[in-house]
Symmetry: C2
Subunit: 254 residues, 2 copies
């Protein structure tokens, strides 16, 4: 949303190329999407039902209630997934980033909307053919089940946050989980002394994710600043000065 003169740039769609190479070059080693469930030579089959899509920041590319035609792998950028009420109240159910899979919470229609926060690169799979491919490669289906399982865990965690945590607990919980996502390989038990985090989403997104108002989110951040636990270099870049003490405010599980 920030660097957005291109809010009207079109969505581009391309075939996934180089099935011959056996590599989907959009998917890097840390990709947790569909690709890493397959061997190199099998990825070519996946490419048969895949397209690459580029979404400009701010664009809605999944609309709640529309027929659920595609799955998506996020290859670049960040996405907000949300539901909304008739009067405009909005609940962001998740932020998706590189390697995340999109399109499981679905019956015949999408149960959610999705918008690009930054410019976003996606791999798009048509649902029907993909379900065919499952028959050939059960590993894919297993992968999807694993993804769904993991999403359920996160969803329940979020319900706990939304139903029972205070404002500061919500904000610190978010910071710690976002830290974890940003550092997929924590390496050892020791938390670093400080960690810099990019927060691509707006305060409004954050508020709608945490079930708060932007003012309350802002005030919570300010309090954490005052207490010397975090610092902002930019509105969208926070440093956890005392990760331990931030973590202590999350009212962790159990």
């Amino acid at each position: 949303m920030r660097d957005v003169p291109f809010a009207r740039r079109p969505i581009t769609i391309n075939p996934v190329n180089s099935p011959t190479s056996g590599q989907c070059e959009d998917c890097d080693a840390r990709h947790v999407g569909l690709c890493d469930a397959l061997s190199d030579e099998d990825i070519g089959f996946l490419a048969r039902v895949a397209q690459r899509v580029v979404i400009p920041a701010g664009k809605t590319f999944i609309e709640e209630g529309d027929p659920a035609s595609h799955f998506y792998d996020v290859n670049q950028g960040n996405v907000r997934v949300f539901k909304s009420l008739a009067d405009g109240r909005r609940q962001v159910t998740g932020f998706m980033g590189v390697g995340d899979f999109l399109g499981l919470a679905v019956s015949a229609q999408y149960a959610f909307s999705a918008e690009a926060i930054t410019d976003v690169n996606l791999c798009r799979f048509e649902r029907a053919p993909l379900l065919q491919v499952f028959a050939e490669f059960p590993a894919l289906e297993r992968k999807l089940l694993d993804v769904a399982t993991h999403e359920m865990v996160i969803a329940q965690e979020q319900m706990l946050l939304l139903g029972r945590k205070t404002a500061i607990e919500r904000v610190t919980s978010f910071l710690m989980s976002w830290l974890e996502r940003s550092e997929p390989f924590p390496v050892g038990a020791s938390k670093p002394a400080a960690a810099k985090l990019s927060l691509p989403m707006s305060r409004t997104d954050l508020a709608d994710y945490l079930g708060l108002t932007i003012e309350t989110v802002s005030r919570s951040f300010s309090q954490l600043k005052r207490d010397g636990l975090i610092a902002f270099t930019d509105v969208h870049e926070v440093t956890l000065l005392k990760p331990q003490r931030v973590a202590a405010l999350t009212a962790g599980d159990r």
Copy 2:
């Protein structure tokens, strides 16, 4: 599920009752568990990894953080699924009833606890062997993916409720969704003039499910009573006198 229930073969591992009859009388025609993904003769294979379990009301049978050893199908009674914080705050993430599947929101450990609300009959499947069976019967895995998908939709709906709805919207939303679960076959578009609902869970459960206090739940019910929209014959039995008008208070989706 189909007319023919769980097993044409005896349940071999822990036959609680009537294996000789060749029928799992616990699974009635409306069962939406694992069984209905399989043909009659294949169900026998499922039985290889199944046990029947009876849980008395109030008993905790899944403890958050314990190694995730089993899946469960609910065959009788009601279950509350929840997470809790160190200080005792609790979030009920769902109420499970006949036909519901339990145990997906799991990594190596259970991410939730589960307790019997009423006396409960379960079919229990060991995870490891069940995953083996998947190889033989991919339909099972597909079924599980469908279940997970459906759970995701419900979870997101609940996040919207917890993050953005008012007390009365939460209570009426619950009533309408519980009504839907209780009447799996709505038959035609017309809502009945009145519908009687059994609410097996306590007010505390309800409060912890809706992210409210018992007092607020009670007050919301009282207001709906005052407005002539519902009536209680018993604390655990409510009648929706004006389902339409109750539905109008839910702040429905989109």
